[in-house]
């Protein structure tokens, strides 16, 4: 059975994992594996289903909740010796892989993935020792069940 939210997340992750370049981009879904080291991309998802009160024009005449408003918060992480440059490199690969791409999700018509906002590389103080930099990019798309 297909689960729409999971299908959207999987479709986005597939795009990121197919990012061009060598070696393959390491991509985590919601949690970095134990012992995982930079560079990598960590993706968190935020999915909302607007109701008829907030966005009546987004619903069909039958008032069924047909729209998914998806956000992918991508942490692009790089470490010394290149530091912020390594984080930007990951961010560049992710951007090239997902920006303006249209996800293929069964039963849904998706708008292209857009960049919404982000933060420049910042030193992650949670990780002791080697300097780790984290650039955040927020991508989003809307989808309507067809």
């Amino acid at each position: 059975m297909s689960w729409p939210i999971q299908d959207h997340c999987d479709a986005f992750l597939t795009l990121v994992r197919a990012a061009a370049g060598s070696p393959s981009l390491v991509v985590y879904d919601g949690k970095v594996d134990d012992g995982g080291t930079a560079p990598y991309a960590l993706v968190y998802f935020s999915i909302e289903t607007p109701d008829g009160l907030t966005a009546p024009e987004w619903l069909s005449l039958t008032l069924t909740s047909t729209v998914i408003n998806a956000r992918a918060i991508v942490h692009c992480v790089g470490a010394d010796p290149e530091g912020a440059r390594a984080a930007r490199a990951v961010a560049g690969r992710v951007r090239a892989a997902v920006l303006d791409q249209t996800l293929t999700v069964a039963g849904y018509s998706c708008n292209p993935v857009r960049w919404i906002e982000g933060q420049p590389p910042q030193r992650n103080e949670e990780i002791p020792g080697v300097a780790v930099f984290d650039q955040v990019d927020l991508y989003g798309w809307t989808a309507t069940s067809s």
């Binding site: 935020s46 408003n69 956000r71 918060i73 933060q119 992650n124 949670e126 984290d134």
Partner: protein, 128 residues
């Protein structure tokens, strides 16, 4: 034999736009103000109840100002208030902590209401 154009409808419309432009900025500023309050309240509701971020909902603040494009508002955690500097950590998460988006979803939820209010204002100002 010349051609005559009846332009009175254009003149009436131009007059309506001219009159509307006098009152619109003040009314638009009110709509922006209400929208900012709605986003602030909704964002606080979304982040409330988090054990480690008890003060963050109370740090959400907003400023209204007149930009080159018209009335505008800047809404978000105030760094001068308790835990206000943690707003981006909650919104985007970190590599060790998942995010709790609260500002962006609140803005997204307000957007259609804000657009409707501005449409209503335009219709009212133009006397349509």
């Amino acid at each position: 034999m010349g051609i005559e154009f009846d332009t009175h409808e254009i003149t009436v419309l131009a007059d309506a736009i001219n009159k509307a432009s006098r009152v619109a900025p003040a009314d638009a500023a009110k709509v922006v103000f209400v929208g900012a309050i709605n986003i602030k309240k909704d964002a606080a509701r979304r982040i409330r109840g988090h054990q480690r971020l008890r003060k963050l909902p109370w740090s959400i603040d907003f400023d209204t100002y007149r930009s080159l494009k018209g009335p505008a508002a800047e809404i978000g955690p105030n760094h001068a208030k308790g835990q206000g500097a943690l707003g981006n950590i909650a919104e985007y998460g970190t590599v060790n902590n998942p995010p709790i988006p609260f500002m962006r979803p609140a803005a997204d939820a307000e957007q259609p209401r804000f657009e409707r209010a501005m449409e209503d204002l335009a219709v009212k100002a133009l006397g349509l």
